[in-house]
Amino acid sequence: MADDNKKLLEEQKKNCPFCKIVSGETKSKKVYEDQHLFCVLDIKPGNEGHILIIPKKHVPVSPLLEDEVLANASLVIKNLSNKLLKAFKVQGTSLFLANGGVAGQMMPHSVFHLIPRSKGDSVNLNPVFKKFDVSEEREKLKKVLGQ
């Protein structure tokens, strides 16, 4: 990573609300912790039981997370989702991650949201599917993926 970017990242970390949760500077309701992840209840949940899965390493977007962290996160998310289904007696869970402000990212620290879902609740993560002509997009993606 270029030196300028490293300096920017360090500045970001100093003021990052999620880094303060991970360090304990900000109190939180922890549901799980391991070497890579710090998982807490969201204090302003979309639904009761809404969990934030916070990578301890400060990265602004998820493509900068190492594979090892993703591996860990996937199994922790699976386990916590199972607990949420049982604990809150719901029929589904949503997992949401935003990279970039246009995608809904509020803080410059990559975070997964795991939200218990009930039919007709007010969480707007059930978008409508539409038909598109994606022949051009498919070709571009195949090219990037070397297909």
């Binding site: 949940p45 979309g46 493509p63 997370l65 591996a71 997992l95 246009v102 707007n124 090219k143």
Partner: protein
Amino acid sequence: MNKDDIIVDDEDITVLCPSEAIVKGMITIIPNKKYLIMEEVDDNLLIKMFQVANKLCGSLFEALKCEGTNILIQNGVSAGQTLPSFSINIIPRYSNDGLDLSWVGKNASPQSLEENVELIHNIDKREKEEALELQKKEELESLPDEEEADDYLTKSMKRLP
């Protein structure tokens, strides 16, 4: 699933750019072996799907020059799952795409947060205890009634010559 939708696949997963999507250019990853929900997915397969999904966020930036990405898992019908299989969606985002993926956060009281931490921590233990209670109750209910037993004995004695 339309074969034309496939952009890459291997022995474990298929990566699609489906024509029916949330946003043009959305990618969906599905396991080749069908699992209905995330909780059923084999651990190693789930790890692979997450790692590939994350890499594809970068691929979307490169291929479609989008301005952001979302990873969205709709796990279960009430979460909006429409496919008969667990899947991971990677959504390219643009400033004028008109897509709203959000929620209004409600303030949670310290007491409710504390109660929910306990609930989540103890749910597995509580489930086992409830199962044990139910088992004991069923065993008790299957035992013959005392009065019936006496009546049976009395009846048996009456049959003696």
